[in-house]
Symmetry: C2
Subunit: 359 residues, 2 copies
C-alpha cells in the first residue's frame, strides 16, 4: 500500500510554536500540541538520553558499586488536575497513584515507591482531602507500593481548582527485561487489554456534560500485577503502553514513530462499550482519542501472542484482552485502520484538545 491510496484524518501539518505563543488547553492534551511543546521547549533544554527515549518512564542504571550489578530503575511522574475531583469509578487520589504505577509498570518494572506533592486551594474542605488521601492509600495497597515522600502547598482561592496532585514513581526492572516504544517489529501482534474510552466518558458524565445517565465507570486501575503475570509468561513482549490522554490512537502513533513501523488496526476488533459509543456519537468524539486509565497496549512477538492472551484473560483487568492489529514494516511511523467496510485510513495523533482536564 502506498500513501496515495489512503485517506487522511486529523491534522498532519505540524503546528507551529513560536516564543510569542501562549499556552492553550491543547498543550495538555497529550496529542500533537503536547508533543510540540515537549520537542520545542522541554527537550532542547533538558535533553539527555533517558528523557529523549520518550517512554512512559525514564530507565536508568545506577552506577555499579565495586563491580556489583545493580537493578535498573524506572522513574516516572504525572501531574493530576482532573475535574471534577470525584467521578464514577474513582477520584483524583486513585488516579494519581494508578497513573504513575502504570507508567512505571509499562517499562516492565515492578513499581515500589510513590511520592505525592499536593497543591491545595485555600477553602478546600479537609474532609474532601481526607477522602482523596484514603483513596490514594487504597490504590497504593492494591498496587503494592509505598508512599514514601509527600509535600503540601496551599495557594489562594482562585489559584487552583480544589486540589492538584503530582505523583512520581520508582520501580526496579529485573535483568533480561527490555520493554520500550522503540522495540516494535514487523509481524508483531498488537493486543489491547479491554474496552476503550471508559475513563474519558465517565469523567464527562460526572461533569454533567453528557445529557444522559449511564452506569459507566472509569476504568482507573493499577495494571502492575497484570503486567507481572504477562512478563512471567513470555520473554517476547516488546512494547507496553497505557493509552491515557490522547487515547489509543495517540499512543499507537507514538509507538509507530518510535519504532519506525506501521501499526495496522482492525476496526471491527476494537472493543467499545455501547454507552461509550453512544456518548461519542452524540458528542462527535472518536473513541480512539478518548482517555483510558486502566487499559494497556501490548505489542508482542507473534509466537507468544496466544500464551500472553491466555494469561491476560485469567488476570484481573485483562479479562477482555483482544488482538486488535499487527505491526508492518511500511508505511513507516504510521497507524492505519482497516475499517468495517473494507477501506483503509490513516489514524493520526490527536491534534487539538478533546476533553481538557481528564486526568
Amino acid at each position: 500500500m502506498t500513501e496515495e491510496t489512503i485517506s487522511y484524518t486529523g491534522l498532519l501539518c505540524p503546528v507551529p510554536l513560536s516564543h510569542n505563543d501562549r499556552i492553550v488547553l491543547g498543550h495538555g492534551s497529550g496529542g500533537r500540541l503536547s508533543h510540540n511543546l515537549i520537542n520545542k521547549i522541554f527537550l532542547p533544554h533538558l535533553d539527555n538520553p533517558i528523557l529523549h527515549a520518550a517512554n512512559d518512564a525514564g530507565v536508568m542504571q545506577l552506577s555499579d558499586q565495586e563491580g556489583i550489578s545493580i537493578p535498573r530503575l524506572a522513574i516516572s511522574t504525572d501531574s493530576h488536575v482532573v475535574s471534577p475531583l470525584f467521578f464514577p469509578g474513582g477520584d483524583i487520589g486513585k488516579l494519581s497513584v494508578c497513573g504513575t504505577v502504570n507508567d512505571v509498570a509499562m517499562m516492565g518494572a515492578t513499581p515500589l515507591f510513590i511520592t505525592a506533592g499536593f497543591i491545595l486551594e485555600e477553602g478546600l474542605e479537609i474532609s474532601i482531602l481526607e477522602q482523596v488521601v484514603q483513596s490514594m492509600q487504597n490504590a497504593a495497597q492494591e498496587a503494592g507500593v509505598l508512599v514514601v515522600a509527600g509535600d503540601t502547598k496551599v495557594v489562594q482561592r482562585g489559584k487552583a481548582d480544589g486540589l492538584y496532585i503530582t505523583t512520581a514513581g520508582i520501580g526496579t526492572i529485573s535483568p533480561g527485561i527490555h520493554i520500550g516504544g522503540e522495540i516494535a517489529q514487523p509481524d508483531d501482534i498488537v493486543i489491547l487489554s479491554g474496552t476503550i474510552g471508559d475513563h474519558g466518558i465517565a469523567v464527562l458524565q460526572a461533569r454533567g456534560e453528557l445529557g444522559f445517565q449511564t452506569d459507566l465507570k472509569s476504568d482507573v486501575s493499577p495494571l502492575n500485577h497484570l503486567i507481572k503475570n504477562m512478563l512471567l509468561s513470555s520473554k517476547h513482549i516488546h512494547v507496553l503502553r497505557d493509552p491515557t490522554r490522547g487515547g489509543l490512537a495517540t499512543s499507537l502513533n507514538e509507538i509507530a514513530q518510535q519504532s519506525k513501523v506501521c501499526i495496522e488496526l482492525e476496526e471491527s476488533k476494537i472493543p467499545v462499550k455501547p454507552e461509550v459509543s453512544a456518548a461519542c456519537e452524540m458528542l462527535g468524539f472518536d473513541p480512539l482519542y478518548v482517555a483510558n486509565e486502566g487499559k494497556l497496549i501490548a505489542i508482542v512477538a507473534p509466537q507468544d501472542a496466544e500464551k500472553i492472551l491466555d494469561v491476560m484473560h485469567s488476570t484481573q483487568y485483562g479479562e477482555d484482552a483482544i488482538v486488535i492489529g499487527r505491526v508492518k514494516a511500511v508505511p513507516q511511523s504510521r497507524v492505519l485502520m482497516r475499517t468495517m467496510i473494507g477501506s483503509t485510513r490513516v489514524v493520526d495523533m490527536l491534534s487539538g484538545e478533546l476533553l481538557p482536564r481528564i486526568c
Copy 2:
C-alpha cells in the same frame, strides 16, 4: 533549667483540626498548621515507617537480589508555587530543582535523578516557560543531576497562577552514612551554613511589598556538593536539614522533637544580613521564621565540629558557616535561645502563616 523559668513565644497549644475545617494558607506554611495536617490527615492513611520518619526525604533499601547489597535510596518531592515566578537570585525553575536536590542531599545521599511535573495556566507565555525550563537545566547541571521524567498539564485561566512545578528527586546513600533528624545527641554542636532569611525577603521584595529597594538576592542554591565535602571530612555528622518554609526556628523544633533533645541557640551568633534585619523589623517578622533555600543546619559530634567548619568555609555556599548553638538533654523537644541581654526564651515552631507562596 525548668520550664517555669523560660518565657514563651508563639502558640504552644495545639491547633484543633476537625473534618469540617477548610484549608487555609497556614496549612502550607511548613509550621504548626502544616504539621497538624500531616499528623491528622496524611499519616493516619498513608502511614509507613519511611514516611513516618519525617525527614526531608524517605530512605529505603531496595530488596537484595540474590544476596547482593544494593545502595539505599533517598527519595523526596516538593511542589513549588512561588509568587512571583521570577525574583532576585532565582526563579521557580531554579527553586524547583534546588529544593528537591537539597532535600535528597540532607539525608547524606548523592542526588542523581529529578522528575518534573508542570501545571500550566492557559494563557501563560511560552517564552516564560522556556526561561523557567532553561533555569531548571542550569541548576540541574550545577547540581550534577539528570531530569529523567516530565509531565505537563494545562488548566483553564484562573485555575492556576502562571505555572506550578512539582519535582521529585532520587539519590543513593553510601554505606556507613546515617543522617536523620532523630540522631542529634546531647553535646552535639549546631552549625548554620550562612545568613538566614535571604530567600523570603528577596521574594517579598520581588512582590513589591517591601517598600524599599535592596540588593538582596535569594540564596537558592544546590547544596549537594557542600554536603559531599562535609561527609568526606567526618563520619560524625548526625543531622542535616535545610531550613526552608518555617525558617530556622521551625526546622530546629522539628529536630528537637525527633531526637527528644533540647537545642540551645546563641542569639548573638545567628547571622542575619542588615537588609533582612531591616525588612523584618519594619514588617514585624522574626528572621528565625523566614524561609531559606540555600542554607543548611548541621548537627555534629563536638570532636569533629572544627574540621567540618573548615571544610564548609572552603566550599561554595559554606563560606559563612558558623556555630550557632549546641544540643542539651533537657528540656526535651524544645528549642531555647540565649538572648543578647542574657535571658533565655523558648523558640517555638511557626504557628500561623508568615509569607504565603514563598516556595
